[in-house]
Symmetry: C2
Subunit: 200 residues, 2 copies
Amino acid sequence: MKSPAFSRAEPDARRLSLIEACARVLAAAGSAGASVRAIALEAGVSPGLVGHYFGGIDALVAATYAHVDAQVSDALDAAVAAAGAAPRARLEAFVTASFDAPIADRALLATWIAFWSLITARADLARQHDAQYAGYRARLERLLAGCGVPEPDLRRAAIAVTALVDGLWLELCLSPGCFSAEEAGGIARRFLDALISPDR
Amino acid sequence: MKSPAFSRAEPDARRLSLIEACARVLAAAGSAGASVRAIALEAGVSPGLVGHYFGGIDALVAATYAHVDAQVSDALDAAVAAAGAAPRARLEAFVTASFDAPIADRALLATWIAFWSLITARADLARQHDAQYAGYRARLERLLAGCGVPEPDLRRAAIAVTALVDGLWLELCLSPGCFSAEEAGGIARRFLDALISPDR
DNA sequence: TTGCCTGTTGGACGATCGTACAACAACGCG
DNA sequence: CGCGTTGTTGTACGATCGTCCAACAGGCAA
């Protein structure tokens, strides 16, 4: 009547559980507390599995970052899809979704910061960041184009909106009491007004 | 004729040299590489001095963050002072100074990231961040008021400008090849135009 | 049921971490 | 010039880090 000492899992499922445990540990203890042992304990597995599936702790953090980025992308897609067909509504949904759950979240921020702290020392991770940032901006450019932003201004507009949203999102996560998600959304909406209005 | 084994220094001078060495190590090796030994080696002193002056590595990182923040404040003040008396020019100088040396700098970013990664786990450092952020925003509010932004809009405008500047600064440091300081300055100037123009 | 395959365990290993402290030496004072 | 103060050194210490790997056992095929 004794319970099994462990159970096997699909490789992808096991990888995912380790990634999610990594994100939880990063959120709870910060970058310094995210050790192989702490993550394995959180996932309920042996420390050796981290090496078996990812080869090292840095690769696990990078995978966690990629996974979290995919989650953000999915949440943004869902917000855009729920906004209907009007281009402006879709753009606004894309932008303001960053200020609510599940994107404005301490666990996400902790993962982001942990990844940023690795970029300084590792060029390959810098390339991963560049690729993910480029993907975000490309999607924003499409939405802006749909709202009538002319092609020559597209690049600058996308950089500007990305920066504003990132800055608001960052401060919203770092000190949630400073301003509210509604305030952030209002600021972003006004910025889009100025960007899209037919003057100039 | 042998050289002295070591030389004494003013406590403040020694503290400063350790802080500067900490910033250099953070920039070169990232958050994970900033150990007591590495910092002491960079500063050319014994590892024991870190404990003697700061009591621990976390306090040294916090002091480095505070010092770097003061450097940024000084650079911003200098930029504003050099801009003359016109309110709009002063505001613009304050904003665009973030995109050039010495503010747009990998060493600064590395210090910021290392500090952010500690905030998750330590409430006292979160308060230090809130205080420094509030100081930045208060100065920005004064400059915006000088440009005619009405008092009820002041808070929102300052939050918006801070977010935009932070987002541009962050991406400029993380991947310098993505866009230039001139582009960032142009984006920020247009944003100020929209914010200050008498319409609405 | 039996036996093989392999996902999983858990501890060993050397390296490195932050901290503490006794010994040392530079500098100022008498 | 000699002495005391104290800034500074260098190391020892225990803890914890990432990695590695031999042994174990769950699950499937025969």
